[in-house]
């Protein structure tokens, strides 16, 4: 228990460090005074700066000014010319990840029958090695919790791949799922259901919300079950997720409809106004987003039919019609079809 606590503590402190560094970077970007000199020559304003690793100098390619010197080369001290050499010289493994049940830290006996000198192993001990390999693989999953995690995380990865979600969403989903396991929330619920709702929560945490329908399509459980489990774990874990904003859906739906950026920004603008007039409260975000896209596509002369928009957004045409009437009326948008 104490170890777990410690681990959590470390996790927390690491996260806060990362958060701080992000904050710092953002501040820097705001001030713009720290990073710019390294990309722009202070003398001639040229942007073509060259790092000379032999002399450890940052040199302006146009005027020859040495901008920085004795900088640290953070790369490896060895060189490799092909994959084999790289594999041989690299002393580290893959980075730690939450998406593998043992965080990718356990050892694996690889499939090559070669010893540490690169010599092939005699046929006598090959059978033994085969057995060792098998048991090593089995022993990686030590207890029921691990087995649960192994299954759930592979399921998470499968769903994330099917949805084309990025690395950080997968990591977040894995962290959410691990937290749920730590708090014994899985008991009485299906692993698939909790995994799917962890993914749904992670998408929202990363501001790339997917609808429940989209998640349900790639998972083995129903939309209802995912919604229920999501509500449960978000309450128990205190995820404190804001209700999704329709604006978050706009880019995805627009690209799904092959609409230009102009239509996108118009739709976002409509939604901003709608939010100000409290037209979005109690309405499904996807429906509102779909209606805004429908209106802006007409306004920008790139009309998409209600059916096309409905198809992409996963709502019905009736919903779009209702939302679109509300929006048009309340925001004084004249639409000539």
């Amino acid at each position: 228990m104490a170890e777990l606590e410690k681990e959590k503590e470390i996790e927390k402190s690491e996260r806060s460090k990362i958060r701080e560094s992000i904050k710092l970077r953002k501040e820097k970007e705001k001030v713009g005074a720290f990073e710019k000199p390294t990309v722009e020559c202070p003398e001639c304003g040229s942007r073509s700066l060259v790092q000379d690793y032999e002399r450890a100098e940052l040199v302006c390619n146009d005027c020859g000014l040495v901008v920085d010197s004795e900088f640290i080369d953070q790369g490896p001290e060895w060189r490799a010319f092909d994959h084999d050499q790289r594999m041989k010289r690299s002393r580290v493994g893959a980075p730690m990840t939450y998406t593998i049940h043992d965080k990718g830290l356990s050892t694996m006996i690889d499939w090559r029958n070669r010893d540490s000198y690169g010599k092939s192993i005699s046929s006598k001990s090959r059978a033994q090695l085969y057995r060792l390999r098998k048991w090593q693989r089995r022993i990686r999953v030590s207890n029921a919790t691990e087995r649960n995690l192994a299954f759930a995380l592979s399921e998470l990865d499968r769903m994330a791949s099917a949805l084309g979600l990025s690395r950080n969403v997968r990591e977040t989903a894995a962290v959410v799922y691990r937290k749920a396991v730590d708090m014994n929330l899985i008991r009485g619920r299906s692993i698939e259901g909790v995994a799917a709702s962890a993914l749904y929560a992670a998408c929202r945490q990363c501001n790339v919300p997917r609808t429940l329908d989209e998640i349900a399509e790639v998972s083995r459980v129903s939309r209802k079950e995912i919604g229920r489990t999501y509500r449960f774990i978000s309450r128990e874990l205190g995820l404190k997720l804001m209700p999704t904003s329709p604006i978050d859906y706009i880019p995805r739906f627009c690209s799904g409809l092959n609409l230009h950026g102009e239509v996108q920004s118009k739709a976002v603008e409509i939604l901003r106004q709608a939010a100000e007039k409290e037209l979005t409260s109690g309405r499904g975000p996807t429906g509102v987003a779909a209606a805004a896209i429908y209106i802006s596509s007409i306004l920008c002369g790139e009309r998409r039919t209600q059916r096309e928009v409905a198809e992409v957004a996963g709502v019905t045409e009736v919903t779009i019609r209702n939302r679109y009437k509300e929006l048009a009326e309340q925001l004084d948008i004249e639409i000539i079809l």
């Binding site: 509500r231 209700p243 409260s281 109690g282 499904g284």
Partner: protein, 225 residues
């Protein structure tokens, strides 16, 4: 001197009641005319309406359900669908679920009196069939569902943040209402964008009043009403 007496027109209820009224009559409120607003400030507590009361009781003996179904007029018993007899009373309009263990649940009543009257009817029906019903079985109210109207449109997003995301549940994708659970009285409230709300989980009629009082106070404090 003109005296104008008025009650608020229904559509002003949706806006902030008193303020809206004063604005409308400001033009008239000159030296020689006095505006008397007959109705007091809009009170959401007056709109509370009990929609459903659920109560349970036990008659103390086990029952032979198939036999009862045959004898009771209009009783419904389908073992595959539901393990109890569904018996609907007309006056008051309630539905009694009679189980084999002798426990009875009464739902659909609009008031606590209706529950008692409905169950009394069921008891007398059973007695006339020769079932020995306990004298005055204890009737326990399990749940009261009430609806009310706050009289102003609500910005649920703002309320979600105002009440604290850990205390509420608001998933417009799944349900248009905002779910707010409070401990004292222990009820669950569903707030809707139209300003209507549902209070459920209370055991007394006073619980709904207290809950509406509380939400009005909290929303007023947040400046969201």
């Amino acid at each position: 001197m003109n005296i104008i007496a008025t009650t608020p027109a229904p559509h002003y209820r949706k806006a902030k009641p008193l303020a809206a009224l004063l604005k409308v009559y400001k033009g008239l409120n000159t030296l020689n005319s006095v505006v008397i607003i007959m109705s007091e400030i809009y009170d959401p507590k007056k709109t509370i309406k009990i929609e459903n009361v659920v109560a349970s009781t036990a008659i103390g003996t086990s029952l032979d359900l198939p036999k009862i179904t045959l004898q009771l007029d209009g009783a419904d018993y389908n073992k595959e669908r539901f393990p109890g007899v569904v018996y609907r009373t007309k006056e008051p309009k309630t539905a009694a679920l009679i189980f084999g263990s002798g426990k009875i649940v009464c739902t659909g009543a609009k008031s606590i009196d209706d529950v008692h009257n409905g169950l009394k009817k069921v008891f007398s029906e059973l007695k006339s069939m020769g079932v020995d019903v306990m004298d005055n079985p204890e009737i326990i109210v399990q749940n009261i569902v009430a609806s009310a109207d706050l009289g102003a449109v609500l910005n649920l997003n703002a309320i979600a943040i105002g009440l604290g995301l850990e205390n509420i549940e608001y998933e417009p994708e799944q349900f248009p209402g905002l779910v707010y659970r409070i401990a004292e009285p222990k009820v669950v409230m569903l707030l809707f964008g139209s300003g209507k709300l549902v209070v459920t989980g209370g055991k007394k009629t006073a619980d709904a009043d207290a809950a509406v009082d509380k939400i009005v106070e909290e929303l007023d404090g947040l400046g969201l009403l």
